[in-house]
Amino acid sequence: MSKVLIIAEHDGSCLNLSTAKTLSCALTVGAGAIDIVVLGSGCDAIAAEAAALAGVARVLTVDRAENAAPLAAVLAPQAAALAGDYQYVFGPSTTFGKDLMPRIAALLGVGQLSDIMEVLDAQTFRRPIYAGNAIVTVKAPANQTLVATVRVASYRAAEAGGSAVVESATVDAALPSHTRYVELKSGGGDRPDLQVASIVVSGGRGVGSAENFEILYSLADKLGAGVGASRAAVDAGYVPNEMQVGQTGKIIAPDLYIAFGISGAIQHLTGIKDAGTIVAINKDPEAPIFEIADIGLVADLFEVIPELDRQLGG
């Protein structure tokens, strides 16, 4: 039977939910066994999290100091050294996976399939092209390892309830020193990550200023939501880049997306079209976002947000 190796994404202390979503995709290829490898430094707790996911056979850990930061040039040779026994090597199509997986594929001398959104059979997959404006069905070659990234917005996280074996793996791979990690500047704070949050509150140019975004933050905190923004709001300097949702930002699929003052440019809609329920609040009844919203309200967001606060028991 064929086997899948999933490269775990983590931040050094916790497993990223993208790993459980990648697992959900891997569960549909009809493989005999799915293993997860955690490349990290001091990664026992992360391995334990991975082992608790239902459907995982083994969790392999490669615990070494060089793996403290997620540098693709350092991780790829280790992943490639482990890939020999596997017919599939999957990673999430987050910036982590996009950076790393092609490097693994090139080391193995095989092509890569990016952004799997659906598995049709063991070799046939659907993926978006042209920013999701077309969906292509692709057949992968059967006689070689398939390295692929999984579009996390297309999958729900696999459930817990497993008890996989955790094994320490040693890999014989020369690691380069030409790439060095300096730092991560994070603007996110304690709010849920956009790509895994179940509710996302988002603001556009209509919010008007960085100060005005505060009312979105406080609403988001009340709902336990992540906060996103349109490209217009990012370009206007209201919020940092990593909050941008859309074709050139993050593609997300929360259960509930609430858009305040976002007109709904195509490039933004591309980023949210897999959301469960889309709510749009905009002063302009002609705003294109109403064409795809499940619930629309033509109103001033500065009146709606305080009223929402009140009615939700603020």
Binding site: L107, A134, V182, F290
Partner: protein
């Protein structure tokens, strides 16, 4: 400093609303405006700024594709690149094959830095820069939003999901650029005239010793399922009611 190589891909212009062909064999490209992949344009702008700041001796642009790609390379020359190389082929080139082709040029040209867009807006693969760096056995700095060059090293700020990551890479290296690295310059008419006199080399793909056989087979291309317009509510109470009906308890 060294030469900088910039790879340009000819793609359907980002303003064009892409339509799937009725026979589901691909998207309509006949009679459609084609342009340099916008991320590659940012890559070229960065290389030109390097040269203008004295950090690069020469900037050359490279493309793989049909003879139509001359247009995009000419635009690159008009933007300010010193010379252009077209690897001419009508074959479908997958990212691994593109990386193999670019590697051959690297071996011949010995650039100090290779800059590409983080992805092409047609296939959205985001693979070629990483594969090229790997085959070249050199560092990669993907999704770059800031570049500083110091003593044979590049300090690169990368746009990652968690925020901005800073890494340091030894040169030569491969840089893949994100949207916010810079704002590409506009091409002026006199520059288009000047560009016609710049060196333009065309190589047949058969002249390179590269395996370009595709590994993946396109079965069908379809339009995505579209979302439907939902209900309009009159006020906040209506909104909360509609959310409750959909099973949300806020």
């Amino acid at each position: 400093m060294d030469k900088v190589m910039v790879c340009l891909k000819r793609v359907v212009d980002y303003n064009v609303r892409v339509r799937v062909k009725p026979d589901n064999s691909g998207v309509v490209t006949e009679g459609v405006k084609m342009s340099i992949n916008p991320f590659d344009e940012i890559a070229l702008e960065e290389a030109l700024r390097m040269r203008e700041q004295g950090n690069a001796s020469e900037v050359f642009v490279v493309s793989i594709g049909s003879s139509d790609c001359q247009q995009q390379l000419r635009t690159g020359l008009a933007m300010g690149a010193d010379r252009a190389i077209l690897i001419e082929t009508d074959a479908e080139i997958e990212p691994l094959a593109a990386a193999r082709i670019f590697l051959q040029l690297i071996e011949k040209e010995q650039p100090g830095l290779v800059i590409l867009g983080k992805q092409a807006i047609d296939d959205d693969n985001s693979q070629t820069p990483q594969m090229l760096a790997t085959l070249w056995d050199r560092p990669q700095a993907t999704f770059a939003s800031k570049l500083e060059l110091i003593d044979g090293k590049a300090i690169v700020t990368r746009e990652v999901d968690a925020g901005l990551e800073v890494i340091e890479v030894d040169l030569p290296a491969v840089l893949s650029v994100d949207l916010r690295l810079n704002e590409p310059r506009y091409v002026k008419l006199p520059d288009i005239m000047k560009a016609k006199k710049k060196p333009f080399e065309t190589l047949a793909i058969a002249d390179l010793d590269v395996d370009i056989a595709p590994q993946f087979e396109t079965v069908t291309v379809e339009a995505p399922e579209s979302r439907q317009r939902g209900e309009m509510v009159a006020d906040v109470a209506g909104l909360i009611g509609a959310l409750k009906e959909k099973g949300f308890s806020l």
